[in-house]
């Protein structure tokens, strides 16, 4: 029997049509029903207007869109003969604000999605403190805003660099917010110092913490999430940052990737119209996100977890939690490395001199985000966006299940809904 479940609190809505056999998910197709048409909106506009429009694809990861857009435009500059090379300062500032956006996302997910949804599976075993997530996220966005002016919806990255020109006042303000957030994470989430947490090599070490994080881990084990929610054990990372390495990872085998092999196709939907396209690499589905990134960087804690529990829901969730700490340390290093005496921007020719294609790739909170632009005299002829949720939550037929469809197979509906959310779904990005 097919039943429809509407899933909300995923940055919008999705509908899952579950085909149940003997109380277990036999098949599920996934619909994202809300059309927005960002790519059409961009057509005919000045390329620089993409820096204003594309952050508005998404309220929670608009900064990632801004960075993908500016990289796409810079790539087009390069393809038209003017190679763009950022100063170290501009590069570090961009990386810092991107990192902080991922951090705010993860805090919200842990406290506003994960804990309440674990509770719905396990009789409210955990204390729900969603405002802890909101507070932590606001410290991250405060640190960003010192450099980006505001969050959400900043447009401070421009071809050649950034618009800001911070003094040490701003650098110290940003640093103080990051330090405050680290102290909060240590006190409220970990019950151990960040440094010690990042030294962990095995999930067993979590057992002695008596903290939010150790309790989440305990619940995941109690719910057998280490034996559920397996996908293909095939990951992809396309954005190159200090916290991620471009790679395709099949089990533990790491190989190189070329973004030109990424393609999209219409979703397989039986009952309703969906506005999300499937994303594939060499015509194969791959999982994206924190687990993929940490595997690409060979992080011991996650590698050991993966060796033991493979790509289960447990590893997927714990990777996002671990990455929060990993990125906090990275953010602190970045903010300390900004040299205010360098230039914020390298001047370029006018955008009207650019007739070329460009592609911009970044790691957004949920995985690779790709923007492709076609420019004629600086005007957008075509714009294409491929978002991380399109990879994880594609909707394929029975013969070709997406990572999320595969991970939900064989489970009860309630468990399947939880597994769906372990991918940290972003509906608005998917239906850009």
């Amino acid at each position: 029997m097919i039943t429809k479940e509407i899933i909300d609190q995923i940055e919008g809505e999705a509908s899952i049509y579950f085909d149940m056999q003997d109380g277990k998910v036999d098949f599920a197709d996934i619909v994202f029903p809300h059309f927005r048409g960002m790519e059409n909106i961009l057509q005919g506009k000045n390329a620089l207007d993409a820096l204003l429009i594309t952050p508005r694809v998404c309220g929670i990861c608009g900064h990632s869109h801004l960075m993908a857009a500016v990289r796409a435009i810079e790539d087009a500059y390069g393809n038209s003969g003017q190679i763009v090379k950022l100063t170290q300062k501009a590069h570090n500032i961009r990386e810092l604000t991107l990192t902080l956006e991922i951090i705010q996302n993860h805090f919200k997910w842990i406290y506003m999605v994960l804990i309440p949804k674990l509770n719905s599976l396990n009789n409210n075993a955990l204390q729900e403190t969603p405002l802890k997530g909101a507070y932590a996220a606001s410290l991250a966005t405060k640190a960003m805003s010192v450099l980006s002016g505001q969050w959400p919806h900043s447009s401070y990255m421009v071809p050649g660099g950034v618009t800001c020109d911070p003094t040490y006042i701003e650098i110290m303000q940003a640093k103080a917010s990051i330090e405050k957030l680290i102290a909060f994470f240590e006190r409220e989430s970990l019950n151990i110092s960040l440094k010690d947490f990042l030294r962990f090599e095995s999930c067993k070490e979590l057992n002695e913490l008596f903290s939010d994080i150790s309790k989440i881990e305990e619940q995941l084990i109690m719910l057998n999430m280490h034996q559920k929610g397996f996908s293909y054990d095939t990951f992809i990372v396309l954005g190159e940052h200090a916290f991620s390495k471009k790679a395709k990872i099949k089990m533990t085998r790491v190989t190189g990737v070329d973004v030109n092999h990424v393609s999209t196709e219409e979703p397989f939907i039986l009952n309703e119209r969906s506005y999300a396209e499937n994303a594939l690499y060499k015509n194969i589905f791959h999982e994206t996100g924190p687990m993929a990134r940490l595997m690409s960087k060979n992080i011991k804690f996650i590698k050991n977890m993966h060796r033991r529990y493979k790509d289960s829901a447990y590893t997927r969730v714990m990777a996002r939690i671990y990455e929060t700490g990993y990125l906090l340390e990275h953010a602190l290093n970045l903010v300390s490395s900004i040299d205010v005496t360098q230039k914020s921007i390298i001047p370029l020719n006018g955008i009207d001199k650019v007739t070329a294609r460009g592609i911009g790739v970044v790691e957004a909170p949920r995985g690779p985000l790709i923007h492709k632009i076609v420019l004629q005299d600086g005007i957008i002829e075509n714009y294409k966006i491929i978002t991380p949720t399109q990879w994880n939550i594609s909707s394929g037929p029975r013969s070709k299940l997406s990572p999320a469809q595969k991970a939900m197979s064989g489970l009860s509906k309630k468990e399947a809904e939880f597994i769906f959310r372990t991918f940290d779904v972003c509906s608005v990005c998917t239906t850009h």
Binding site: I6, D8, Q9, E11, G12, E13, P33, F35, R36, G37, N40, I41, K45, N46, L48, D49, L51, L52, R56, C58, G59, I60, G62, A90, K108, M112, P116, E128, P130, L131, A134, Y135, A137, S138, T141, K142, M144, S145, V146, S148, G149, Q150, P152, H153, S154, S155, Y156, V158, V162, T163, C164, D165, T167, E170, Q173, T341, K343, S344, I345, V428
Partner: protein, 301 residues
């Protein structure tokens, strides 16, 4: 005796065609826990709520304050129910209807998703033809892309305190929208003496003359009540895009439109002639301090 929970005004947050930016902007509010304590949140896209989406769209409840985020699209459904029916149901009983952000106020970015169909709640850009025209008396437009969390908190607290909220002709609170984004800009001295920024990425210079800044023409208090408590677009060298106004988003946002090298739009309500006379005069002076770098980091090196 009623419990505290029952006595609190009921607040409902619904969404049209949106990016969730207003939702996430609101979550940044420094005093969020204190503000939430004052309401019963019936439904919010991410905050803890007393009802679920299914209960909300079954239209058996009412609310005191309806907050709507996103552009209105008559064919959009939430929870399998036309949002058109949902907002009219709740609008009837609500004491206040708040359009959160520019999409809900005027159509904004997502008017462009379906230009013939989408609009704000009362306005389609600046024309009164939205679906809640009949409830105009209850509407407060809090435009901005996204909404500023402190502005929303200010208005919610004013409602709770029983203060009257004078509005401008676009139904925006004068409290927040009588000043311009220009007020409090840290580059004001450059504006006064007509010293242009020499490009992006500089703390020195005014962004109005070349970089497209619309702060002198934009009703907003971005430089008075800072974003995320610390900054604003102009403070980080990004031009104001006029995101609180019905015309947002405009085209060619990073460049000032000029006629014979004179800005096409002069500061709000200033006669062009008066502006040009003063500007012309100011430009004839050379003020050394405003022409150099503010801080010379390399001086001691």
């Amino acid at each position: 005796m009623h419990s505290n929970q029952e006595a609190k005004p009921q607040l409902l947050w619904l969404q049209g065609v949106t990016c969730n930016g207003n939702t996430h902007s609101f979550i940044n509010l420094e005093t969020l826990p204190q503000l939430l304590e004052k309401f019963e949140i019936l439904y919010h896209p991410i905050l803890p709520s007393t009802k679920n989406l299914h209960e909300i769209v079954s239209l058996k409840n009412s609310c005191d304050i309806l907050i709507f985020e996103g552009a209105y699209d008559p064919v959009l459904k939430r929870g399998d129910t036309l949002i058109k029916d949902v907002i009219v149901h709740y609008a009837k009983e609500a004491d206040y209807i708040i359009a959160a952000g520019t999409c809900a106020s005027f159509g904004g970015i997502f008017k462009q998703s379906a230009p013939q169909r989408n609009s704000g709640l009362v306005f389609n850009e600046n024309i009164t033809q939205g679906p809640l025209m009949a409830y105009k008396e209850k509407i407060i437009n809090l435009s901005g892309c996204p909404i500023h969390p402190e502005w929303l908190s200010t208005i919610l607290n004013m409602i709770l305190s029983g203060y009257s909220i004078p509005l401008d002709s676009l139904l925006r609170p004068q409290e927040l929208y009588s000043s311009l984004a220009h007020h409090g800009c840290s580059r004001n001295e450059y504006f006064e003496w007509k010293v242009d920024a020499k490009g992006f990425g500089l703390k020195e210079g005014c962004l109005y003359y070349e970089q497209g800044c619309r702060a002198p023409m934009t009703h907003a208090s971005c430089n008075k009540i800072l974003w995320n408590g610390v900054s604003s677009k102009t403070r980080v060298g990004t031009p104001c895009f006029g995101c609180t106004e019905p015309e947002f988003p405009r085209n060619d946002n990073y460049v000032t439109k000029t006629n014979m090298s004179i800005p096409q739009d002069v500061p709000l309500d200033i006669p062009k002639r008066a502006y040009l006379s003063v500007a012309g005069m100011a430009k004839t002076f050379h003020i050394k301090r405003l022409e150099g770098k503010l801080i010379d980091y390399k001086r001691d090196n």
